[in-house]
């Protein structure tokens, strides 16, 4: 796609570990245009963060990256460290799952915000302070001026994440990778943050990769959804098509495991049993087979490839896709 801001081609990430090679990301292909949101969904350890770090070129030192990460016409894997650093400051921003990853515990919130702003935008101290207060207000921090003089440990967990988001947005990025930005937040703030991100995105025509384990979060927010499992994209579709008909048993199970408001208290939840496979010990067949209630025959021997569904842009990797009657239905 020529209009794509980001195009990921056959990206794989391997990490050497004492227990053998770990394939954290396995031949992933994705594209994203300016102003659009791609939701990446999957449970912990499935490679969502490694994929985003592959895009940002922030992989652990010993990691091996293959494939191409084309961003605004250039292959990020081939950029010089200095150009990359500049790009990451301004055009590519990230919000991590754990706000303390991006916050420095020994610096005040004001210092951290103003340093980032002054490093990338040519603003004097007074203007940077003004902008910091605006940003803190935008992410819903009460009494922003007082917060500037506080340290991260004086804020509750939710406030820390809002501050981290303010820092990420401060550079006016072209692409924002939000890695579970609202996982630790309560619903009203989650709604506000997602609204805020959507608003900023429209205003700047910013592209966004919204990483989450909650299908509920992407349902109303992403244009397209990619479901990951054990390093691979196992289902990918425009959001309405995905929710209209999930083909992958894993996608269905993920949706079923979310506690629903309609359900009576003390009803056992349909949890997905077990855990994803140990990524250093790949299973021969479909990675979901040990936990899949539809697994049969071929599932234990061969890996299903991504194949096209009837609807345009919808792909799934499963030998026994869910039929309408069993699935979510329309």
């Amino acid at each position: 796609m020529s209009g794509a801001l980001l195009s990921i081609q056959d990206v794989a990430v391997e990490l050497p570990t004492p227990r053998g090679n770990l394939r954290a990301v396995d031949r992933v292909n994705l594209t994203l245009e300016a102003g659009r949101t791609l939701g990446v969904v999957g449970e912990s350890g499935c490679g969502k963060t490694m994929l985003s770090r592959a895009i940002l070129q922030l992989l652990p030192k010993k990691a091996r990256l293959s494939g191409r990460v084309m961003f605004a016409g250039q292959d990020l894997a081939r950029l010089e460290p200095e150009s990359l650093r500049k790009l990451r400051g301004r055009d590519l921003a990230v919000v991590f799952q754990d706000p303390m990853t991006s916050l420095n515990p020994v610096l005040t919130i004001g210092t951290q915000l103003m340093e980032t702003i002054q490093e990338h935008l040519e603003l004097d101290a007074a203007a940077a302070k003004k902008r910091s207060i605006e940003l803190l207000t935008a992410v819903g921090i009460p009494a922003p001026e007082q917060r500037l003089t506080q340290y991260p440990h004086q804020c509750s967990g939710g406030m820390r994440q809002r501050i981290a988001i303010a820092i990420a947005l401060s550079c006016e990025p072209k692409l924002l990778i939000a890695d579970e930005p609202t996982t630790a937040l309560d619903v009203t703030i989650q709604a506000q943050i997602l609204d805020l991100l959507a608003r900023e995105q429209r205003r700047r025509h910013m592209a966004m990769i919204l990483i989450t384990h909650d299908l509920g979060v992407v349902a109303g927010r992403a244009d397209e959804v990619a479901v990951m499992y054990a390093g691979r994209v196992v289902e990918r579709a425009p959001t309405p098509a995905l929710f209209k008909r999930m083909h992958m048993p894993y996608t269905e199970a993920l949706l079923a495991a979310i506690p629903k408001l309609e359900t009576a208290p003390h009803t056992p939840l349909p949890a997905i049993s077990g855990r994803p496979p140990d990524p250093t010990r790949p299973v021969p067949g479909c990675s979901f087979a040990p936990r899949c209630r539809y697994a049969a025959g071929r599932c234990h021997q061969a890996k299903p490839d991504l194949s096209a569904a009837e609807t345009a842009g919808h792909f799934y990797a499963c030998f026994h896709p869910i039929r309408m009657a069993e699935g979510i239905g329309a």
Partner: protein, 326 residues
């Protein structure tokens, strides 16, 4: 306010918090983290506690355990006022009350083996016989679905978040407590593991006859495990009601707002833009009268002049609002 005579044992609620106030000093200012909270938890009951980030849920939970001493108010546990206890007496009492934290990985000492981590409360409690300790540790580890043989010798970093939370739950169970404060036990876990841990907590509760204060910010998670739910806002309780009732007919405007903000896994349901209007005010200078009034669509003059007290509007449903929805 509910009245139960103090110091009557066993018949009353297992936990009775009365007019609890907890504050933090911040420079020369005061953070009013918990401002006059009263609640009761009956034996065998799960009381859910929901509310926004920073509203004081963890502070309340920690003050119940006296990990943070309240400024005023009382915490009656099985009729004994924990706020009046010190040293050895308090330590003994605390064995009956445990805490499970939100961040399972951070709450485990990275340098200690799982077997030692889980056994630690036993050592502190003075269980000297290593054989006895081992037996209890193996029992609780099996109970939470871990294979003791495989886990006791390993370090926390070798486990996933979900497994670490199982270990934390095992550690909380090792002294056979009656009451557990679960402070966002599944917030850091993802959906599939979350469901496993919620199911596990329910099993443990039945098996060990536990009473729970279950703190979370996710209403659907709270509903899944709670008999009653208390909604907290900026240091005060807005509403307390049986789960089904609260979700079917919220009486407090804030509860209604929380319910509207829940993301629905359906792309046809467009998220209502900015249902959560305004910013939560600072607990350093909370609004006069009703603390929710700055965000409340029903607020009027009375709301800024007069603080609404928690009162029963429907049998079993307490609400602190001058203009409740029911």
């Amino acid at each position: 306010m509910m009245q139960v005579p103090a110091h009557t044992q066993s018949d009353g609620p297992l936990l009775k918090v009365d007019d609890l106030v907890v504050e933090y000093g911040l420079g020369n200012r005061t953070v009013h983290a918990v401002s006059g909270v009263s609640l009761e938890v009956a034996r065998g009951e799960t009381l859910g506690l929901v509310g926004e980030s920073g509203c004081g849920k963890s502070t309340l939970g920690r003050a119940v355990l006296q990990l943070r001493r309240p400024k005023s108010g009382s915490v009656l546990f099985d009729g004994h006022d924990l706020t009046a206890m010190q040293g050895e007496t308090l330590r003994k009492m605390r064995q009956r009350v445990q805490l499970i934290f939100q961040d399972p990985i951070a709450s485990l000492n990275p340098r200690r083996r799982i077997g030692d981590i889980v056994a630690e409360p036993l050592i502190i409690a003075g269980v000297k016989d290593p054989e006895k300790r081992k037996q209890v540790v193996w029992e609780v580890l099996s109970a939470v679905g871990l294979d003791p043989e495989l886990v006791v010798g390993r370090l926390p970093h070798e486990f996933s978040g979900g497994q670490c939370q199982r270990i934390c739950i095992a550690r909380a169970l090792v002294l056979n407590p009656e009451f557990i404060v679960c402070d966002e036990p599944v917030s850091a876990l993802d959906v599939s593991i979350r469901a496993q841990i919620l199911n596990l907590l329910e099993e443990m509760k039945a098996r060990f006859g536990l009473t729970l204060l279950f703190i979370a910010h996710d209403l659907a998670v709270v509903k899944a495990v709670s008999d009653r739910v208390a909604v907290m806002y900026l240091g005060r309780l807005c509403e307390v009601a049986p789960s089904e009732q609260l979700f079917a007919k919220p009486a407090h405007p804030y509860t209604a707002l929380l319910l509207e903000a829940i993301p629905v896994p359906d792309p046809d349901v467009r998220p209502a833009e900015s249902v959560a209007t305004g910013e939560p005010p600072s607990p350093i200078a909370p609004p006069s009268g009703c603390r929710f009034r700055t965000r409340c669509p029903r607020a009027d003059q009375r709301c800024s002049a007069e603080m609404p007290e928690l009162r029963e509007v429907v049998p079993g449903q307490l609400v602190a609002c001058h203009h409740p929805l029911v």
